[in-house]
Symmetry: C2
């Protein structure tokens, strides 16, 4: 599925992609399933972006003996070890001690860290309890990484050609610290690529194998030194192009990516990492267009996707969650007859919802979803998982029928992704002046 050999740069005698990165995530809350291990997802992604691959992640308890044994093992085989958690004021301070013992280092009290912590408490107007001073210890031969969003700083050690980064556990502290300090430091040492290690082509509405089939002729022309990796996600598929041996310059990779985009046509979403909602938002915004949403089965999830984007009021007029037949009439003035004649889960009702939302909210585009998300509901004609999507546009209104088997939340998410992708395609057609797909219902 994913090729990872994507690193032209080298660190000493090794390529970045051959370096051994290990991540130790500390905390009972992870092992008890109270908190998802977002550190693995975030750090794994970031290393991948910069040409390296995380080789192993070990999640273990706060027990000092366990930490000590695991760190010794990881440190003996890895080029870079990253730890998360175990640095806070309430944590057992033996985490630092356990690791210091393996490194053969002393911990020293650092008055500058103490001052930073005290200043932070002053700023938020709370008294500093003595246990906070645990956080003012650092390795004697190591550096301190300032934490702009919390009291525990990160710690950095370079020793015997290896690097240790210890990071605070809260994601809002760890993530900026990683992006702003760890990535540049590792890149400076040649342990990560400074820029993104690949050019990414994002596609939607096409499966992984069809995508490969469609793009293979392009790849065949550039077989020398080109590495291709496909990553399928919910709602889109990414193709990552890289040149692990460095034989292809960036400009060539971008040229190949442009060829892929051309061949993909409307299935091409973007270069890079933008979501379908972000792509729709930027197209709406740049054309000064307003969108309205009407949702039954997806119950607010579509509106939520748009309003997760800051400044959504510039392109999103609003939405209605009309679960019942009554609410479709009350909020969107949909004639009861349409639902009586065709059913509330039908192409006609979906089209009336899209039209009603757009007209009610004075929007240029209206996007509607109705269906049976399950596990209850459904009938012989429209079993659970049946979804109708409708799109109101300046050029006409269309609707289409889809079917998604699976649990309720997955059905909701897949329906939203399908609606976003349809809107995206229709916005492209709007820009180029062509007609829409789907089943025309007139206006």
């Amino acid at each position: 599925m994913v090729s990872t050999d994507t690193s032209p740069k080298t660190a000493g005698h090794k390529r970045v992609s051959q370096l051994h990165f290990e991540l130790l995530t500390l905390g009972d809350e992870l092992l008890l399933g109270l908190t998802a291990n977002s550190h693995l997802t975030f750090i794994g992604q970031q290393l991948g972006l910069h040409g390296a691959m995380l080789r192993r992640n070990v999640t273990l308890t706060d027990d000092a003996d366990d930490i000590s044994a695991q760190f010794a093992e990881s440190w003996s085989r890895a080029d870079v070890v990253i730890t998360t958690g175990g640095l806070g004021p309430t944590c057992d301070d033996r985490t630092r001690e356990a690791i210091a013992a393996v490194l053969g280092q002393k911990l020293v009290f650092d008055p500058e860290i103490e001052k930073t912590i005290a200043d932070r408490f002053k700023k938020i107007g709370r008294p500093m309890t003595p246990n906070n001073l645990k956080q003012a210890y650092r390795f004697e031969k190591g550096e301190v990484l300032a934490n702009a969003n919390g009291t525990a700083p990160g710690l950095w050690v370079e020793q015997n050609g290896r690097v240790l980064c210890m990071l605070p556990g809260p994601p809002n502290e760890l993530q900026p610290l990683f992006l702003e300090q760890i990535v540049p430091r590792l890149a400076k040492l040649g342990l990560l690529q400074a820029r993104e290690a690949f050019v990414q082509v994002r596609a939607a509405g096409i499966g992984e194998s069809s995508l490969e089939h469609k793009l293979q002729p392009i790849f065949d022309q550039h077989s020398e030194g080109l590495s291709i990796a496909f990553c399928a996600h919910a709602g889109h598929v990414d193709v990552r192009l890289s040149s692990p041996t460095g034989t292809l310059p960036d400009a060539t990779l971008q040229q190949i990516a442009a060829e892929c985009a051309f061949v993909l046509g409307d299935d091409f979403v973007c270069f890079g990492h933008n979501s379908l909602a972000e792509i729709c938002a930027s197209m709406l915004r740049s054309s000064d267009l307003l969108l309205a949403a009407a949702e039954s089965a997806t119950g607010g999830l579509l509106a939520d996707a748009f309003t997760n984007i800051s400044g959504a009021s510039k392109f999103f007029a609003g939405g209605c969650v009309c679960y019942s037949n009554e609410s479709k009439t009350q909020l969107l003035d949909i004639p009861e007859e349409i639902m009586m004649q065709h059913g509330s889960v039908s192409a006609e009702t979906a089209a009336a919802m899209a039209t009603g939302a757009a007209e009610k909210l004075g929007a240029d585009y209206g996007l509607a979803i109705t269906g049976f998300a399950g596990p209850c509901g459904g009938d012989q004609q429209n079993p659970v998982g049946t979804i109708y999507i409708a799109l109101y546009t300046p050029r006409g209104t269309w609707s289409k029928r889809l079917n998604y088997p699976g649990p309720r939340l997955a059905v909701k998410q897949r329906a939203v992704n399908a609606a976003l992708d349809w809107l995206r395609r229709e916005l492209i057609r709007g820009q180029t002046g062509c007609g829409a797909g789907g089943c025309g219902l007139g206006r």
Copy 2:
């Protein structure tokens, strides 16, 4: 934060809570951050519910040598090793072989598994490609666990007093298999408690430390054999009561939990694991009441929380996502003067939104959220993070002002949790006939 010694039962000479469980999650997609490690969250939670604690989780690549070395290490120290992934048709089949070598077992082809796989392909009407036959191999001295939702069965081995469970990677295959087959089998061997290992009291609107302070007098009366663990989540705090030594019978734990609920008053949410939205839904449903929502800042997330519950149309009339001033007037008939005079982010506008949604949708209760989720927006009076929540009830309409610092998505989630908790409290007051909290705005 969490005490884990919650196991009265014993397996041989050890308590369940002292058993050593390790989880090996296989797959490059986890290490590349393409997929969150939901197996850790799910299995960690399930083991916790049944009195055990996961001691370690190692995520590693599909490399056979890595798997072999890590499995040998885990198998040497653990009582139970669970693996996920690496069983599918496209996976390198050396996963099974690597583990078989460590176990000193042979792999045998099982015609019954072959037949099950062939039947499954027949049912879904697709041809069975030969690589699927990899999945028909099992350990010579082991059992096969039927997989109702996929082709790769689970594998079960008991050897030298240890247990190995190998589970397929897709969550929709793994989770039912774990609940229906792994938990009962481990419980039968005394390696898990068959029933939940603790009585859980869920509270909201109160911090962890205040909660502890409030409940301590109750715990002091039952200090003999009672174990207490607090788990703080976004929007609620759980107290888990257990008797690790088995000295307190279940009835006593339930009695203590009931005392906690009584002392907590309205801060008590439920015994067990229901979400705030589920609790509100069940109160609305049992009183035959309808709720309507109006959202600005949270943009559909509140409606989404309700419509994640199957059968939501029974209690949820619908919702409006009215981001702009115009949409508040268009959808909810809110007089422009209210927004002109007080601003769209104000107690008055929030109250008008709650009232408008309830009246428009013919609902008994109306819940509204407006505010600045950030990072843009806000003014001197109402900086980013300011949220107004309003509640329309049969007894009056109230609104309150809250402030949540943090990133946009976190502000949205916290606002939704606060709104749900307020609705819950007001539904309790509705049942008991008392007045509401907040700032009355009349009707």
